[in-house]
Symmetry: C2
Subunit: 336 residues, 2 copies
């Protein structure tokens, strides 16, 4: 099936190519009779206007780039689904990319999305690309940060739109629950220091310990937010002397690894090792007597907020406004 060209459509409808273009782009006056003839020719020849050629004219690609650090983490998929539901109805399509927590790969993806002329970018950054991100934003590309701030931003007052969680406060409360139960020797499983969520959550852990007068520093394992990192952290903690009696894991993927390795080691949760997780773990119910604290998260709602913000940016409804900052506050829950 050879592709029909706009010339063939024009010939079939006995009009000019400019008229065909006017009908298809819904621009300029065309009589109903001519419009009908063109649309019939389009249907007859199964003409597919090239989206690329069209986007050059309209200066819009209707594509939104979404870069997340781990495309298989249900948390980031929840965010993506929220974005998709917010922007899909307006005809925008998401292009998902995974940086795999690799700043260098993220840099290449940002460059690629710019080249593809996406209309906007949603970024959960792996860190290390502050200059690139700011340059893209200053060149006029709308960028909404989700979950993670740039490394150079502190507090909630950055220069870019942001939808994130109150990480410090959440981790503070989560750790507080363990300390109330009498734990003093804590193992902390964290991500790389270049990622803001990890830094902020760790601050919350330290504040909780400080306020209760604990002088002892926690044991810390820094991984890359993977299940395997949780496994490795537990192995490290079990070799410590004295061992921690409780583990705070600062991301859902690592928490699954923590739980898997504790169970494999024959330890009971929470009698032998208490566990608190920033983020839910779907599989937790496989444990007969879980005894498990966790911070619930609302990735879908965060995604819809991010989608709403970038729609307004694309439409230039708030070109002159400062950054939109949305911080979600989460509760501590207990299973078992």
């Amino acid at each position: 099936m050879a592709k029909a060209t706009i010339k063939e459509v024009a010939a079939e409808a006995e009009v000019s190519t400019a008229t065909v273009s006017r009908v298809l782009n819904d621009s300029g006056y065309v009589s109903d009779e001519i419009r009908e003839r063109v649309l019939e020719a389009v249907a007859k020849l199964n003409y597919q206007p090239s989206a690329i050629a069209r986007s050059l004219k309209q200066d819009k690609t209707y594509m939104i780039g979404v870069i997340v650090p781990d495309i298989s983490n249900p948390y980031f998929m929840g965010i993506s689904r929220g974005i998709e539901d917010a922007v899909g109805a307006e005809g925008f399509q998401l292009m998902f990319c995974s940086s795999d927590e690799n700043p260098e790969k993220e840099g290449r993806l940002l460059q690629l999305l710019r080249e593809k002329r996406v209309d906007a970018v949603v970024l959960a950054t792996a860190g290390g690309n502050d200059e690139t991100v700011k340059a893209l934003s200053e060149s006029g590309l709308p960028i909404v940060l989700v979950d993670r701030k740039l490394g150079t931003e502190t507090g909630g007052a950055g220069v870019l739109d942001l939808v994130a969680e109150d990480n410090e406060e959440g981790a503070y409360r989560l750790t507080g629950r363990l300390l109330e139960e009498g734990h003093v020797r804590i193992g902390v499983v964290n991500g790389p220091a270049r990622v803001s969520t990890g830094r902020e959550r760790f601050e919350g852990v330290l504040r909780a310990m400080r306020e209760r007068g604990l002088r002892e520093q926690p044991l810390v394992y820094n991984g890359a937010f993977s299940t395997e990192d949780g496994v490795r952290a537990v192995r490290k903690f079990l070799q410590a002397d004295p061992k921690p009696t409780a583990i705070v894991s600062l991301n859902n993927r690592m928490s699954l690894g923590v739980l898997l390795e504790i169970v494999r080691s024959g330890l009971r949760i929470p009698e032998d090792m208490a566990v608190a997780s920033f983020g839910e773990v779907e599989a937790i119910s496989l444990l007969r007597q879980p005894g498990f604290y966790y911070i619930d998260q609302h990735p879908y709602d965060m995604g819809t907020r991010a989608g709403e913000i970038l729609l307004r940016r694309i439409r230039k409804e708030r070109a002159e406004e400062g950054p939109a900052i949305e911080i979600f506050r989460n509760e501590v829950n207990r299973i078992g």
Copy 2:
């Protein structure tokens, strides 16, 4: 930062725009001295050639569309990672899309990928789009099917490239292990009938039962390959009279749901309910005494094979050849 144009680059380098274009596209002769001048001007002005304009000239977008039914299923993410590793080194970028097991959404995504002029498509179909897929393929767009065949294809001899698993044989062996242990009342958790993997796996279950002379039909629950479907299937089976003593779950996501709901119901695995799964379940080690049969899968290897096939198709190395068919055969494993 206003975007530099090719005219400004040409003026800066004191050459024609055609010469700038020849340097950037590496086409036609340009002296070393001129080339250097152009590249210096490009660097100085931070000129970004538009990938869209370039792709119109080269007739290549260097984008490969990947449509999977569930982007958060680790199985499909394994396939995607394999594809990415196979094609990334050649400069191709993946555009992930999730059909959410929705044939109508899949149809829209196929149309969108065509409009975006991707160089090839990898499709794990949700079913129901056979005519669209064939029309796209006949129009010259390379399409590699992974995991799932078109509804109209039988056996391994389709018209499109295919990388899949020997589903019938795998499910036959898996079910055989349960029957050898004396189970006769089996509950089968399956996906929608429009998906080839579910149909083929169910055939394998029936063959295993038939060959052992079992007259009784299995209890069947048809869901949509989600964790929640596994939960619902167990609830249904536990209300049956008599209840099944074993469950065969024909996809990894549903298997997690099956395990969660059995544990929540206070039943022991395998004493009260034996479980066999087509596909691994990462969280299985959370069970203290699992007793669990599963078919291992090799999504990453399937992805790299699919990537290799489509690279050859894009390069037209095998334009004249018939479809490439790769079937992976899997083993039954036991935990506990």
